[in-house]
């Protein structure tokens, strides 16, 4: 009975959360179109051109790239597409944290701290990036295509673990994207470090970890990019045929949980140092 009550409560919370997301999404959208009809259109065109760019990169790689680190060109493309999906999934909710300095130095965080909902949760839903869902379609579509071209035949376990890996990769990528943002509480800014971790190091996703020099490999385990798609791909692309390979997608989830937890604790610690702004 008690467990059932708990279950009902949890279900209620989840419904509440998705309603909240729907609300802020609709508010963002209406605010966005309310006064800049033309620029919204231009922005949309820009996004489409950006995504076409991703296609061009993929195509160029498939046609010109000999492959590296034991991965063929097609398999590299699979890695690349998987990285794209993980990045898109993991950054649906992180937009507000790109402006951490505004939140912390200008004291905008104050408003989120006087409401009876975790400030983190409020920041997550404040500016949800629906645009990234198109990355998702693009990425998963490409992966399906590449899978056919490589000629892999997956059983049910592979399919299940494929979607599991995407989700786990998204969770991990989200954690990595947020991990360094609480530095703002100490330094006043963190955008340079965050841009390096979220943007610069992200480029490493598209190649097998083994091709990098040793110290960079170590870095990829500390900031666990290695687990975002390299490890799941070892299993999904049947690069590692030992029976233990089936565990690799779970490594991703584990790394994701640890990274997010680290971010959470780091955030909590930072909040104690929060000084707001103004006298």
């Amino acid at each position: 009975m008690r467990i059932r009550n708990r279950g009902c409560w949890l279900a209620g919370r989840i419904v509440w959360f998705f309603q909240l997301c729907a609300m802020t999404l609709s508010m963002c959208w209406r605010g966005y179109i309310s006064y800049k009809g033309w620029s919204a259109l231009v922005h949309g065109i820009g996004l489409i051109i950006g995504y076409l760019g991703e296609y061009v990169v993929l195509y160029t790689m498939i046609t010109n790239f000999p492959g590296v680190g034991g991965f063929t060109a097609l398999e590299i493309c699979f890695l690349y597409a998987m990285g794209l999906v993980a990045y898109a999934l993991g950054n649906l909710h992180t937009r507000e944290f790109w402006r951490m300095d505004e939140l912390v130095l200008r004291g905008k965080l104050d408003l989120f701290l006087v409401r009876p909902v975790s400030p983190l949760l409020q920041l997550f839903v404040q500016d949800i990036q629906v645009g990234y869902l198109s990355h998702l379609v693009l990425g998963i579509g490409s992966m399906m295509l590449i899978k056919g071209m490589i000629g892999l035949s997956w059983d049910l376990a592979h399919w299940a673990l494929f979607f599991f890996s995407l989700l786990a990769g998204g969770i991990l990528m989200g954690g990595i994207s947020l991990l360094t943002t609480p530095l703002t509480f100490w330094w006043g800014r963190s955008d340079a470090v965050t841009r390096f971790v979220r943007g610069g190091m992200r480029q490493t996703l598209q190649y097998p970890v083994t091709i990098y020099p040793k110290f960079i490999q170590r870095l990829l385990y500390i900031i666990p990019y290695a687990f975002v798609c390299y490890y799941p791909c070892l299993y999904l692309l049947e690069k590692d045929t030992s029976p233990l390979a089936v565990l690799y997608p779970f490594y991703t989830l584990l790394a994701g949980v640890i990274t997010n937890l680290a971010f959470y604790l780091f955030w909590r610690l930072g909040l104690r140092r929060y000084n707001s702004a103004g006298g």
């Binding site: 909240l20 966005y32 701290l113 707001s276």
Partner: protein, 318 residues
């Protein structure tokens, strides 16, 4: 009940000549402040720029963690028991808006309804009360960015009150408003305090706010609490002069020792300071003249507070 005891907050100052040096200098923004606010009180918290008003409010609301001392609101620690505390308090920052800029007021309110999980029926009732009280109907359909400052502040106030908080913290609610709008906001706050029994703590630069609104006033400067009591007592502690004007029938008889003495026909004016024992003079002059009318003008509140600030500065130098 809001309890603050021995509150302290320090801000680190960066060494601007060499940002890498680690000699941590601290600026004390709030220094050992203690007070309690009982339910139903309307308290004004005043002080010059940078005195520590906002810092105190931010510690009371759980935004900042005090470096020393403790805060309890109905026995709850606002920083560590944030969610519990936030259900009971409403906060309005005069300089920071929680309304969604491009949307109508209604949109923000519905979001807040969801965040505070206010039941439908209660929300409908509360909103109609607030709409009437704050007269929001005239600009209900406009996006927030088109509202005037006074209208927007009424909107902000409604947002802060939507979940029927029992404590309301206002950080400079009348900043930048014209006289009429200020008056309107004051009326509303009074009404809230009287009718709904909301406990209100407000910071302000505008001493008129305090004089018109508050039963109790706290004065802070350089992070220290200088005064905590009623307005009348604050005046009586003041060393500034009152101005006495007396209408006299016939030719006035003048006595020695009157400061700033002026005569205009049958009317005489002079300064009087009770703390210097000058009340005697008034008795004397009334005794030897046929008085038609007396007015004693107390020093303006600005003067009283300036006097208090000055004395605190002198004490610090000593």
């Amino acid at each position: 009940m809001i309890e603050a005891s021995h509150l302290c907050k320090n801000y680190p100052i960066k060494n601007h000549n060499n940002p890498f040096r680690k000699d941590r200098q601290l600026r004390c923004a709030v220094d050992d402040i203690s007070f309690t606010v009982s339910p139903g009180e309307l308290v004004g918290y005043i002080g010059p720029n940078g005195a520590g008003k906002s810092t105190t409010i931010k510690m009371l609301t759980g935004i900042l963690l005090p470096d020393g001392g403790m805060v309890r609101v109905d026995g709850i620690d606002p920083f560590y028991q944030r969610k519990q505390n936030c259900r009971k308090i409403g906060v309005l920052f005069g300089q920071r808006s929680q309304l969604w800029w491009h949307l109508r007021l209604d949109d923000t309110y519905r979001l807040l309804k969801h965040l505070y999980e206010i039941p439908d029926e209660q929300y409908r009732k509360r909103l109609s009360v607030l709409r009437e009280m704050l007269e929001l109907d005239s600009f209900w359909d406009q996006p927030v960015r088109q509202l005037s400052l006074g209208q927007r502040m009424r909107g902000e106030l409604a947002a802060a009150l939507l979940h029927s908080p029992s404590y309301l913290y206002l950080d400079e609610p009348t900043v930048g408003m014209d006289v009429l709008v200020k008056e309107r906001i004051r009326e509303l706050l009074k009404e809230l305090n009287r009718q709904d029994g909301v406990t209100i703590l407000l910071t302000t630069h505008d001493l008129e706010d305090v004089e018109r609104l508050c039963s109790r006033v706290m004065v802070i400067n350089h992070g220290k609490l200088l005064y905590d009591g009623t307005m009348a007592q604050l005046r009586s502690r003041c060393t500034a002069d009152a101005t006495v004007t007396i209408d006299i029938q016939g030719e006035p008889t003048i006595i020695d020792g009157l400061r700033n003495f002026r005569q205009k026909g049958n009317q005489i004016t002079f300064s009087l300071n009770r703390r210097l024992g000058e009340g005697q003079l008034l008795a004397q002059i009334v005794g030897c003249n046929h008085v038609r009318d007396i007015t004693i003008q107390e020093p303006p509140i600005e003067e009283v507070v300036r006097d208090l600030y000055q004395r605190s500065g002198e004490e610090e130098q000593r």
